[in-house]
């Protein structure tokens, strides 16, 4: 009887834990990708308009954002994809500082595609399910 109650309690806790895991990581990832995409857009626009200072500012902010969120993201995302994103953002930041807008734009585009890939894999969609 005691074990049955314990098992029922554990099953309810597990259900709650799973619901939390369905909601929390996707909320964190969605928020992160919105912020990152916003910064990538701003950096790309700044690069296109030749405003190197603004581009450096946004690339730096993007770099810091990825580094800040890395520990949390690695709890529920494959480390390899986070590392790849971090590498791209670091390259973009360095390229802007080294006055190489072409390399920076390329690295930013790669970072955006990695973000899209992460979202595609991690966030629920019927395509992923099958």
């Amino acid at each position: 009887m005691g074990f049955t109650i314990f098992r029922t309690a554990m099953t309810i806790l597990i259900c709650g834990f799973l619901v939390l895991l369905f909601l929390l990581p996707s909320a964190i990832l969605s928020r992160f990708s919105v912020q990152a995409n916003e910064l990538i857009d701003k950096a790309e626009n700044a690069l296109l308009s030749g405003d190197r200072e603004a581009a450096a500012l946004h690339c730096g902010a993007l770099f810091r954002l990825v580094r800040d969120r890395m520990p949390v993201l690695e709890r529920f995302l494959n480390h390899a994809s986070i590392d790849a994103l971090d590498a791209c953002v670091a390259v973009a930041d360095c390229a802007v500082r080294a006055d190489d807008p072409g390399a920076a734009a390329e690295a930013l585009a790669e970072a955006r595609s990695i973000l899209v890939r992460i979202e595609g894999i991690e966030l629920f969609s019927w395509n992923n399910l099958l």
């Binding site: 099953t11 895991l21 990581p25 995302l77 480390h79």
Partner: protein, 245 residues
Amino acid sequence: MFFAVFTHPFHMLTLFLRAVFLDLFVLLILRLTGKRQVSDLQPYDLLMTLIIADLASTAIADTDIPLLYSVVPILALYLVQQAIAKLCLKFSPVRRLVCGTPQILILDGVLQEKIMRRTNYTVRDLLDSLRSKDIFDVGEVAYAILETNGTVSVLEKAAFQQPNKRELGLEPGSAALSHLLILEGRIQKSGLETLHLSQSDVEAMLKKHGLALRNIFFAQMNGDGELHIQTDRKDRSRVMRFSEG
């Protein structure tokens, strides 16, 4: 100079702790399923156990994968298993679908070829199962039933069954369960509680027979008060039996 090589002294600690965590986690999940041993498992349960083990081993070995990648599928499998177990309890058609139904392999000494072919059970497998139950002649079997967990239950024909005490008109005696009282010189509290004894009662019993608690390797007592003792002596007299009833 030598220690300078160890720039990160706890390099393997991550792997170690992940293995410990997942081992304990899988242990908890398997205990929650309520199955004690492999022979209790239906084929479906066995499959679940194997998948859970595989999922756990993936995250143990690959530190690139977050632990949640193993934890979430294992929890999902546990919930599915619990749901199916509940459905099987409530609805017998679901139970038949998931677990199958027992199949009669021998009926009144006759092998049921059709059923054996359907269940992929060979005559040799059946003879092996019968021999393991001390039956060496198919003609002695009234029923041999292939259970859903793969074991074979056998009912011998009445003529070949061993007579029991009631049939022989013998005094049945009591079927008293024995409880562990002492193990390696230590009194076992659970045994004392079950037998409604105190530590001083046990010590008094031992004293009466000239024994000391520290010299007892193993002692158990049944509900009739029969005490079975094995001391730590190396000679033949180390096993004793007393009646304390």
